[in-house]
Amino acid sequence: MSIIVNGSAGELPDDPRVSLLDYLREHSGLHGTKKGCDQGACRACTVLADGERILACLALAVQYEGRSVTTIEGLTEAGSLHPLQRAFIASDGFQCGYCTPGQICSAVGMAREVSRGVPSYVTGDLSAETVRLGRDELRERMSGNLCRCGAYNGVVAAIADTYAPGTNAMEAAE
C-alpha cells in the first residue's frame, strides 16, 4: 500500500488508526502541516488530496492509498516560495505562523473550487457557472481556518492579492 506525498511514493502504515496528519508528521518527517485541535475544528492541518482541501487530522492515512497528497512543503517550486507564501509575507498574514500552512493549503484548494464555479453559503446565484471571488466570498470560503492571533485581515489581503487582484479585501461591501 502506498501513498504519494509531494510527488514521492511512501509506504502506508499497517495500523489503520494512523491519521493522515500523524502519518505526515511522525512517519514522513513533514512537520509543516500543524496539529491544532486534532478534532476537525481549527483546520491548521489542511492539506490537498488530488487538489482538494481536506483535514488531515480526521483522515485516516489508509484512506488515501494511491492518492496524491500535497502539503505546504510541496507547494514550493524549485526552491522558490509559492506566490501565496510570498503574499503572506508581504501582507503580514500571520503572527505566530501556526495556522499559516493550513491557511495557505486551504486557499490553494479554495481557488480551485472557485475556478470550478463551486458555490458557497454566500453565493447569490447557485446555478451560476462562474463565481467572482469578492470580499464576502473570500472570507466565507476561508472562515473555517482559525487564526488565534487574529491576523485575519492580513490573511484575506494575501489571498486577495494572489487570487483576486484588484479586489479591495477591506471593503465593507461587494
Binding site: D15, P16, R17, S19, D38, Q39, L58, L60, Q63
Partner: protein, 70 residues
C-alpha cells in the same frame, strides 16, 4: 483509539456486501466518525452484551471494518 479493521470497497455491490458485516460502519466525506472513535465515544465494537466491555482483546477479535464508498 480502539483497534479496528479497515476495508476498501471495490464497487457499490462490494460496499453493500462489506457493510452487512456486524458492526461495520461506512466512512464517508463529512463524517465525524473518526474523532468519535479517537475519543472512544464510538466504541460499539468494544461492547459485548454477554461480557460487558471487552476492551482491546475483544475489539481485536471482533474488528470493526470501516468502508469507503467506491
Amino acid at each position: 483509539m480502539i483497534p479496528f479493521a479497515y476495508a476498501r470497497a471495490a464497487d457499490t455491490a462490494d460496499a453493500v456486501r462489506l457493510g452487512s458485516v456486524a458492526n461495520a460502519k461506512y466512512l464517508g466525506g463529512g463524517t465525524n466518525l473518526v474523532d468519535l472513535m479517537r475519543e472512544t465515544i464510538e466504541r460499539r465494537l468494544g461492547t459485548d452484551p454477554q461480557h460487558g466491555h471487552g476492551g482491546r482483546e475483544h475489539a481485536a477479535a471482533h474488528p470493526l471494518p470501516l468502508l469507503l464508498r467506491p
